[in-house]
Amino acid sequence: MATKTTIRTLALALSALPLLQIILALVLTASTASATSTEIIVISSETATVYVADDGSADIKYEIHISVRPQSSAVSQLLIHMPNWRFELSGTSVTLDGATLRNLKKTGSAESNIQINFETGEGLQPGSSHILILVSNVGAMVLKHPSDQSRGRITFSPTWWNPDIVQEIQDLRVSINLPEGFLDQAKISYSSGAVVSEHGNRIVLNWALGAVPTDTKVTLHVDIPASAVDKVYDPFWDIQFHFYQNYLLILLLIIPIVVIAYGVKRALRRPYIKPYLNIEGWGPRTGFGPMEAAMLLDVERERVAAMFLVDLIMVEAIAIKDPETMAIDILNPDHEGRSAPFLGCIRAGRLDPIPTTNFLGDLRDEVLAKLEGYDIAETKAHYTDQGEPRTSRKKTLKAPTVDEVLWLMTGPNATTRFKENSIEGIPDWTAWKVIL
């Protein structure tokens, strides 16, 4: 009993393990979330100064005052967002409290970020304050105006920060210095809040934006006449196309592969055999001659022999001298008609039963071979029409053809019909004594 209770307790404890794991995971997740939402850096001041050059590029200078909270961990890298990708790291200068930082990296999908990496162990230590100064020349800063071709637009967004790291920029200032020599203030338009002044040989627009939440991306525009600079850049061809170039390269690599693969696939296609439908051979076999039909219809062998004789008589190849004795004269031994092979059955002026039987047996085999793939019953029905071959429906025939006579002879009532109806020009085969 005790053992049972122990086992039950153990089982309960084991079953509770996954639950404990879940609770632990939830607690850990909650603590991680609160840690990540803690502000690490304070940007007490961020000043961006933009000097637009005649060639449409701009020198950008950031001066950022950074403090790292004492309770937080050291900051090992910072990310500064630049207006576009057209800048060189070699031409970019970054200093921290006067010391030059060299570990810079272009990052981001648009390659427009500068990642500043601090050396291991250095970084921005908790509780420390620093001044970061970044200077870089960025190309294609004056872009075509979206609606007015005669104007150019300078668009600038001072770098923003990850809201999980930085809560706000306490004092944000932006200054855009227009190209030297362009002093016609009436021809410029710009985002609200700017104080416009002239400094040296330039028009200067200053925005004192004060405290700005870090999740707010401030974007400022200044529109100037296109003639104020030597070149106005196209947003697609000069900025975005750079990225499509990479895709284009990939595409150029892929296309031949696809073409080759397609070609190979086409080449490996199977040979085309015409589609066919072959019916298992049912249906009647047509096209038999009268003697073949007679064999098929099981007409007596004697009558089939008589049919051959009639055929030979009607083409004057033979003559019956005496129907009683079946004495036969071969008149044309060189006859070449369809019944010519039957001449071989006539030996010594008589119809020889042995070769005749063999001849008719062979004929039956030939008929059966021709029936291969056809329905024998339906074929018989085809050659029988209400008990009589088709052509034998005619009661009397004047000057019948040889074929008509022979078809008449295949009918079951042929003997009676031939006896009762005199048909001109036909040998009286009903009187023959053919014995096989």
Binding site: S73, S76, P275, I279
Partner: protein, 467 residues
């Protein structure tokens, strides 16, 4: 900055790559799923004929060719190319897709493929309307090697009206339950059997007959029923069977004469059987009437045929009982067949149906695996083992009803074990040996006798002089 924080700094491009790959991935997954399904499912595709209750089945055979079965009776061999066309036509694919598939698989221009598609579609429509294809040749009957028979005869029960209510004899197979029959049908469909003929005993004695017919029909099978017809006299029962998808019925009647019928069948219900024939014809259900030739019925077979013609029957089978008390010799059956043909000429078609040689079908016993031995021509009954198999009430399978060797059980054995069983292979070889089927063909047996299909006219062969 912690590693987590760093990650937060990296802009995320959600699903860019995945977004591009998704359509391809989906297509791939779908293709693979289809492949798996094709493997798991039947090699059969079925399609209802445009008109009537007929249907077409297309089956892929082992060598990559196909067999098209029209109305369960006409067998059309199709080559690899035609098989792909027909599969796509059966799947109701649009022309452009069919042509794309064909031209991507075969070395053919789309113009030629389009012409061939039009020709095949026209041929398929001709077949559906009971006409032969416009082109195509004939092949030797029973010449194809198939992955499954064309038909399975399902003996739902060996009970008959005479034995109803009596305890079955010892050793008699136990009838499967309805669920087991449904499972058996599923298996047969998966094996590639397109056509089942429900027989018995008397299958209408099973109360679940309608459910079984309905299930087979819903799978796409062609379903026929062999019965004495007595229960089909009921409009309600016949209506339920028609609704369930019954494609044809074969009813046996021994004679036009009630007394002779009663003597032969030991059933006094001649009137019910006649009524069943009438009802089926009225409902448009194809009816095949079987007239067994016995000592009692042989002499007036013409009158029986005339009687059936008057009822409107278009297809009549004349069958022999083989051996037994009431059986008549073969020559008498042949003569009766000829007389029946003469009587029916121009009105109905007559087929021979039944064993030719005097060999009584031995009763099957479960587990009996006696060797097949030498096959007499009587063993060719209905192309058994070649075009059909017989499933007994307990699910055991034999080549034909009269065969003694159990090849396996449709519920428990693999199809390979049944269909490629050495005994069945031997039966098939012996059946085809020396073209012995020709003897049956002369009597009108066409290999697939249970549902005589369309007539196919041949092209006259006038290529050489005929004598």
């Amino acid at each position: 900055m912690t590693e987590d924080d760093k990650e937060l700094y990296v802009p995320r491009r959600k699903g860019k790559v995945a977004g591009l790959a998704t359509p391809f991935a989906k297509a791939y997954v779908e293709r693979e799923r289809r492949k798996r399904e094709e493997v798991a499912h039947s090699p059969l595709l079925s399609r209802s004929a445009i008109s009537g209750r007929g249907c077409l089945h297309l089956r892929e055979e082992e060598n990559g060719t196909g067999t098209l079965l029209v109305n369960g009776s006409i067998v059309v061999h199709v080559n690899v190319t035609a098989l792909l066309y027909l599969k796509l036509l059966f799947s109701n694919e649009v022309d452009e897709r069919i042509l794309r598939r064909i031209t991507s698989k075969f070395k053919v221009s789309s113009t030629i493929a389009r012409q061939d598609l039009a020709r095949l579609r026209s041929d398929l429509e001709r077949l559906e309307h009971g006409e032969p294809p416009a082109r195509g040749t004939r092949v030797e009957p029973l010449s194809g090697m198939h992955v499954a028979p064309m038909r399975a005869d399902l003996a739902l029960t060996y009970r008959t009206k005479d034995t109803e209510g009596k305890s079955p004899p010892s050793g008699a197979p136990k009838d499967l339950l309805v669920e087991e029959w449904l499972k058996a049908l599923d298996n047969l469909w998966t094996f590639g059997v397109p056509h089942v003929c429900i027989t018995g005993g008397e299958p209408t004695l099973r109360e679940d007959l309608v459910e079984i017919v309905e299930h087979a029909s819903s799978l796409g099978m062609m379903v026929g029923l062999l019965t004495d017809g007595e229960r089909l006299g009921s409009h309600a029962f016949l209506g339920r069977l028609l609704d369930a998808g019954l494609a044809y019925v074969q009813i046996s009647i021994a004679s036009h004469d009630e007394t002779i019928h009663a003597k032969v069948t030991s059933s006094p219900e001649h009137r019910k059987t006649v009524n069943a024939i009438r009802h089926c014809i009225k409902e448009g259900l194809p009816v095949l009437v079987n007239v067994p030739i016995t000592k009692e019925s042989e002499y007036d077979v013409e009158e029986t045929v005339n009687f059936l013609v008057k009822l409107g029957v278009k297809d009549i089978t004349v069958s022999s009982l083989g051996t037994g008390e009431k059986a008549v010799p073969d020559w008498m059956v042949s003569k009766s067949l000829e007389r029946a043909r003469k009587a029916a000429r121009g009105h109905a078609r007559i087929f021979y149906f039944g064993p030719l040689a005097g060999k009584a079908p031995p009763q099957i016993a479960p587990g009996d695996t006696a060797p097949v031995g030498d096959l007499a021509i009587g063993d060719l009954e209905w192309g058994a083992g070649l075009v059909s198999i017989h499933v007994h009430p307990d699910g055991s399978v034999t080549g034909g009803r009269g065969h003694t060797s159990v090849l396996g059980n449709v519920l428990t054995h693999s199809w390979n074990m049944i269909w490629y069983h050495s005994l069945l292979k031997d039966i098939r070889a012996k059946q085809l040996e020396g073209r012995r089927w020709r003897a049956l063909q002369e009597l009108g047996f066409n290999g697939y006798p249970l549902f005589p299909g369309l007539k196919v006219q041949s092209e006259p062969d006038e290529s050489k002089e005929n004598i």
